[in-house]
Symmetry: C2
Subunit: 210 residues, 2 copies
Amino acid sequence: MRIAIPIFAGITALDAVGPYEVLSRLPDGEVVFVAEVPGPKRTENGALALTADAALTDVPDPEVIVVPGGFGTRGLMTDETMLSWLRSADATSTWTTSVCTGSLLLAAAGLLDGLRATTHWLELETLRQFGAEPVSERVVVQGKVITAAGVSSGIDMALTLAAAIAGDEIAQAIQLGIEYDPQPPFHSGSVATAPPEIVELVRARRSRLA
Amino acid sequence: MRIAIPIFAGITALDAVGPYEVLSRLPDGEVVFVAEVPGPKRTENGALALTADAALTDVPDPEVIVVPGGFGTRGLMTDETMLSWLRSADATSTWTTSVCTGSLLLAAAGLLDGLRATTHWLELETLRQFGAEPVSERVVVQGKVITAAGVSSGIDMALTLAAAIAGDEIAQAIQLGIEYDPQPPFHSGSVATAPPEIVELVRARRSRLA
């Protein structure tokens, strides 16, 4: 089963690497990182490069698509090469998925029209502007389309997807293999649980960056 | 604050990328991926390459060291270049940390002698052979040395470390920024919670690989 993860300059690494770490452990999982032009793609802060081994055109019909997010998605929302690939890959995919602002690319490609979907909590309203119905859930399944919330949620999404593809037992074995028994030291991972002053801190920082 | 993450062929990507995603968001966090020879390093399954931008010798005295794991650690446990770098970097570091089998490298370098430490659950006894006292905890703090359990535990470790470095408020903001509100679809992330047959499945698979 071919799993394509399109990457790009300005990616958030964990958006891609979380699902990669889960889905590459599927019995027949063959993950390939693709990009408009193959080669190393720098993360948004520049500190890490992930390598795309293939061009988008080399992988026209993967069975699974996982679109990660990051500031780099902004420029891609009007990039016809990427949007066309997403549309045609989705036309034959078994599963079309995203993490964080990767869902904005799916939405910009017209693939979330009228669907419930999620994204990073700071971008939910952007999703609405592109025709989706934003919901504050961690993993949203709509037929073959699965969207996940911010950054780290890709791990939960990929385990859900692994179970759908290969069954609960395999997904549980993968979870144990990556020892995913999360114990965050704080209860600050969502707008619903974080202290209000922390939410404001993150909102303010994002406004400065925007 | 310079944070060095040594990488190598046969790395488990999430071991490195989880902590990177957290620590790069510290106000003065400067993450650098280092290797014996700079350049792309393939993960254990070959599907992804992470790039090391600097040589170990270029970064002799980082304030924070994060040693990831993966099958590639096996060959490095007798690699004097890596072990010497770990010893000398640890001599001046503020924090020396590991994820998964990265702790086996710290142990092989003699840096965990007599310390409580953890690693991937399948490798706890190996840790004992190298002089550490293995414990089944997700994040183990021993003075300036912090070890974490398998793969995904690096996110919890890094949030703990972020709080120690920059305070709880910053760590909470980072947690919200990466929307780390884990909701695994199964309770299968540790030996203590996974169904016994799943534990056996993973043990058997590992025996075949070994």
